[in-house]
Assembly symmetry: none
Homo-oligomer: 202 residues x 4
DNA sequence: AGTTAAGCGAGACGGTACGTCTCGTCTTTTA
DNA sequence: TAAAAGACGAGACGTACCGTCTCGCTTAACT
C-alpha cells in the first residue's frame, strides 16, 4: 500500500475526461431524458471510454448525480447575507425557473434513476440535497430568530413545505407553477400561524 | 367499426389473466422494486404470456399504473360525508401509513418508470392522480364554504401543499414522516392565514 | 353418433374453403417463398380461419404438399401413349420450364419445409414423388423392352439420373439448365452403355 | 477506414468462442435437425452469447454453412494426385458414407434453411459448393485429357450427373444409395458415349 | 535516459430484458 | 354443428444496454 500522502505513481487521472463525461451526461439527460443517457451514449458523446467511466463512478446513478450537482450549485446560489425571507423567496423563484429548463429535465432523470435503482431517492439526498436543505433550513431558522419569519413551526417543516410543494407540482406536471404561485406559497408558509404570537413555544 | 353495444366476436378476453397480471406486477414491485418488475418476471409470476400482456397494455408503465390504481383506490378511500378537515386529515394519515408499506414501494416504482419513460409523471396524473386530486380539492373547497377550513388560499394550493410535502418527505426518505408531523402539517395548511382566535388545543 | 346415411345436421363443410386455402398457399409460396407462407398469412389470404385449416391438415407441411400437388399433376402430364424416350424428353423439358416459374418456387418451399421438419423429404416422396417416379420408371422400362431405350441399367437409376441432375442444377441455381442441356442429358442417360452403332439422328 | 495492415485496436476476438459456436451448431443440427439448431440453443450449448454470434455471422444460415464447411472440407478430401476416375469414385463413395451419418443431417438442415430463407441454395453454392465443384470438374477434365475418362460430354455435366443423382437419392430418402449403385453410377457417367469415339465434336 | 506503473481508447464478451412474431390450442358467437 | 373470429401459452427472434474483460498505446514519476 502506498503512503497516503505519497504522490501516486503512473499516469495521473485526466480531469479533462471527467469534465467531458459530466457535461455529456448533462447534455444527454437534458435532450433525451434518462432513456437517452445510456452509458454508451455518454461514451460516444464525450469521447471517453467505458472503462474510464467505470473507474471513476460506481454506476450511472452516481455519474448523473455528479452531473446534476455540477450545474445546480452553480445556477442556484442561496444568499446568506440577504434578509432570510427574501433570500428564500429569491431562491425558490430561481429554482422554479431552472426547473422549466434543462435542469428540470436532468433532475427528473436523476431522481428516476435513483428511485428505480434504490427504491427511494436517499442517495441523491446524501450526496446533494441534504447539504442544500441544511443551508435553507439554517436561513429559515435565522429568520425565525430575528423575527422576520413569523411561523413558529420547525424550520425543516417549513422548508419541506415550500420545496416539497414546488417539486410536487413540477414532477406531476401541474400547470400552475408560476411566479405568483411561488410568492404566495412562500409567504403563506413562512408567515403561517403568525397571529398566534404567544402560543406554541417549541 | 363494430357497433359499440354489439357483442364482440371470437373468444372473449380473460379477466382472470388480467387480474393475475396486475397482482403479479404489484407483488413484484413491492418486493423487488422496479428492477424486479420486468415484463418477463411478471409473465413468470402470473402465468400469463408476454403476448397477452402486450395486447392489453401499451408497455410496462401503463401496466404498473393500473396495478397501482387497483390497490390505491381500494386502500385509500376519501370520505365525502365526514367533516372536510377531518376527512382530509384521516386520508393524509392513512396515505402516509400506506406509503410505509407495499403501496409506497409500488408508487415509487411506478413514478420512477413514468419519469424515466416520459420525462415527467404526466401519464400517472392523467390516469390516476387527477381524479384523486379533484376529489380532495372539492372536499377542501366544501370546507372553505362551510367555514371549517379557514385558509382563504386556492384549494388546489392547499391540496398540493399537504400532499406535496408528504410525497417530498417520502420520496427523499426524510425520516420525520410520522403522525404528529402530518397532523401539524394539515392543521397549519388548512388554517393558514386565519385569525385562529381561540387557539386549538390539539 | 349420427346414422351414417342420415343427413348431417348443422352447417356442412365447405369444399370451397379447402380450395381457397390451397390456392392461397400456392400463391403465397410463389410470391413470398416459405417465409411468406405462414399459416396466418394463408388464413388472411384465403379468408378461412385457422381452426378450419388445422381440422383439414396436420400442419403447414401437409398443406403445402397438397397445394403443390394440385398444380403439378395438372401442369406436368406424362404421356403413356407416345414413344417412351420422346415422352420422357417432353416431360423433362416441361418440368424444367415449370421450375423456372411459380412451380419451382413452390417446390423449393415445400421441400425446404419438409427437410426442416423431418430431416428429409420422405413425406413429399410418399404423398407425391413416388407416384410420379413409378410412372416415369414404367415408361422407361417399356422403352427398354421395346428397344427404343438402349441403356441396360435399372430403370430407377436412369430416372434418378435424369431428374436428380435437373433438380440438382435447379436447387443449386447452376445457370446452364436449358433445353439443350436437358436434351443432351436425356439422350446420354437413356442411351448410356449402348453400342449405338448407327448414331441417332435426333 | 483503418489501414488494412494496421494492428486492430481493442480486445482481440476469441477464436475459442467461434470454434465453440461452430461445433455446437454442427452438433445440434446432427442431433435435432434444423428445428433443434435455434440460435438460442446454440448459445446455450456453446456458452457464447447471442450478441457475439450476431457480430460474427449475419444470421443462422451463414453460421450453419460455416459449421458444415468446417467438417466437410476435413472429412471429404478429393485427391488430385490419384488417377482421376479413381479419385472421383473414391470421393463419391466417401461422400455417400458421410451422408449416412451426421454430415448428411447437417447438410440437409443447412440446405433447408438456405431454401427457406432465399428461395434457393445459391448462398451455399457461393460459400462452399462452387469451390468443391470446380475442384471436381478439373479432376474430371484432367481425366478426359489423359484418356482415362471416355465421355466427351462437358465435365460440368458429368460432375452434376454424379453428385446430382447422389444428392437426389439422399434428399428424397430413396433407399438404394449404396456402394454398388455409386460405382455403377460413376462408371456409367464417366464412360458414357465412350464407344461413340468419332461422333459429336461438341 | 530508461524503467515502471497507472490511465486510457477501443472493443469483444456473457448476461438479461426488450418488444415482435408465429405456432397450435382453446373458447366464444354466428350462420 | 361447422366455421369465423380471435384470445391465449409457448418460445424463438434480433436488438439494446449493462458491467467486465483484454488489448496496446500514452503519460508521467521514479530510478
Amino acid at each position: 500500500m502506498p503512503h497516503p500522502l505519497a504522490k501516486p505513481r503512473g499516469r495521473p487521472r485526466s480531469e479533462l475526461a471527467a469534465t467531458a463525461v459530466l457535461e455529456a451526461a448533462y447534455r444527454l439527460c437534458a435532450s433525451g431524458g434518462l432513456r437517452g443517457a445510456t452509458i454508451q451514449a455518454i461514451c460516444a458523446e464525450s469521447g471517453v471510454s467505458k472503462m474510464t467511466i467505470y473507474k471513476w463512478w460506481d454506476g450511472r446513478l452516481q455519474l448523473l448525480i455528479d452531473a446534476y450537482m455540477r450545474q445546480a450549485t452553480l445556477l442556484l446560489p442561496l444568499s446568506e447575507t440577504e434578509p432570510p425571507a427574501k433570500a428564500i423567496r429569491a431562491h425558490a423563484q430561481s429554482y422554479v425557473t431552472a426547473l422549466q429548463g434543462d435542469l428540470g429535465r436532468v433532475q427528473m432523470a436523476v431522481l428516476a434513476e435513483c428511485m428505480a435503482e434504490n427504491g427511494n431517492s436517499a442517495v441523491f439526498v446524501e450526496r446533494y440535497l441534504s447539504i442544500r436543505r441544511k443551508l435553507g433550513v439554517s436561513v429559515i431558522r435565522r429568520g425565525q430568530a430575528d423575527g422576520s419569519i413569523l411561523s413558529p413551526r420547525p424550520a425543516e417543516a417549513l422548508y419541506d413545505q415550500i420545496y416539497g410543494t414546488i417539486w410536487y407540482r413540477f414532477q406531476f406536471g401541474l400547470r400552475a407553477l408560476n411566479k405568483a404561485f411561488v410568492d404566495g406559497l412562500v409567504e403563506a408558509v413562512l408567515a403561517d400561524g403568525a397571529e398566534k404570537k404567544q402560543s406554541k413555544p417549541a
